[in-house]
């Protein structure tokens, strides 16, 4: 479970005991095909899901079938740690591409919270960072133009993927269609297309298949007003 360990050790040190606990927690694995549900809205899970490989999206459905993507998860992310405490899932989690997921039993998570304070705080930290990302998406959705939103999202993904050694901070894989990007930003497919075209013409990015390359991170950051503070990437005692 290297990516999960990288995600945590970016922000704090882990003891040998904690690393062992993580290996025990993440032993049970399951694979999911692209576009299938990892977690279903309305369900009451008995385990929380940790991304081992692949990408997934947190999805909220509205009555007429339209949907909003409220988070994109990468390897090393817990997609529903909150299911330990909440009775029913208020959202689904759908695989964006083929995924491997560790199914962490809730009873094991309870034991961790009762006996291992530091590791519990780190899990709590992950939910706090999830919430911070969500707040930034909300601000971006309400206050940035479509092209700025796209730029902000790509800067965020570059840094999140750099933490888990899946990017050098500029090049990374992003298996999302323009329709899925639109669902994540509340934009029409046409405006996603238009925004990406503007970013390409400004020589800020290239995007071929699922391969994204940020050509000028500083310029993209400036365009989108991206400030990575909310990702809390500082390593310190928690």
């Amino acid at each position: 479970m290297d990516e999960f360990v990288l995600n945590l050790t970016q922000r704090d040190a882990l003891s040998t005991l904690e690393r062992g606990l993580i290996a025990e927690m993440t032993a049970k694995r399951r694979t999911f095909d692209a576009k299938t549900d990892i977690v279903k809205q309305g369900s009451s899970p008995t385990h929380s899901c940790l991304m081992v490989s692949g990408y997934s999206a947190r999805v909220n459905l509205v009555a007429d079938g339209r949907r909003r993507i409220t988070a994109v998860h990468v390897p090393g992310d817990f997609v529903d740690l909150h299911s330990l405490l909440l009775s029913r899932m208020d959202h689904s989690v759908t695989a964006l591409n083929s995924c491997e997921v560790a199914l962490v039993p809730h009873n094991l998570l309870r034991q961790v919270t009762e006996n291992h304070g530091h590791l519990s705080r780190l899990l709590w930290m992950l939910t706090a960072i999830d919430a911070a990302i969500y707040r930034q998406w909300l601000v971006a959705s309400g206050r940035l133009s479509s092209v700025e939103q796209l730029g902000h999202f790509l800067c965020e993904m570059a840094l999140r993927l750099r933490v888990i050694d899946k990017s050098d901070g500029k090049a990374f894989r992003l298996p999302m269609s323009q329709a899925e990007l639109g669902d994540a930003m509340g934009l029409s497919v046409v405006h996603v297309n238009r925004g990406l075209q503007q970013l390409r013409r400004a020589n800020l990015i290239t995007w071929r298949g699922d391969a994204v390359q940020i050509l000028n991170f500083a310029a993209l950051q400036q365009l989108s007003g991206f400030d990575p503070t909310y990702l809390d990437l500082e390593r310190r005692e928690r």
């Binding site: 479509s146 329709a179 029409s188 497919v189 046409v190 405006h191 297309n193 990406l196 075209q197």
Partner: protein, 81 residues
């Protein structure tokens, strides 16, 4: 998925998008109206009136599916109704 060409125009100004992949012609028509309203809203937020623009959508075989005048997509009656 089929690809469609979206062309925004006002007078001699023109913005033609890369091919947009959508499920079918009906999805392209719906997307056109939504995109036109978004384009107008973006203009309003910048203090620009884009109600004089048009959007035409054509399929990859050249068929023009829809030609929208932005002005037709907004009601001129008083709001707050």
């Amino acid at each position: 998925m089929p690809a469609y060409c979206f062309a925004f125009r006002e007078g001699f100004a023109e913005e033609i998008l890369d091919e947009v992949e959508l499920a079918d012609d009906e999805a392209a028509r719906k997307e056109a109206a939504r995109a036109a309203r978004e384009f107008m809203s973006e203009g309003v937020l910048k203090g620009i009136d884009r109600s004089g623009w048009t959007l035409s959508v054509s399929a990859s075989d050249g068929r023009v599916l829809v030609e929208l005048r932005f002005a037709d997509l907004v009601s001129r009656r008083g709001d707050l109704q």
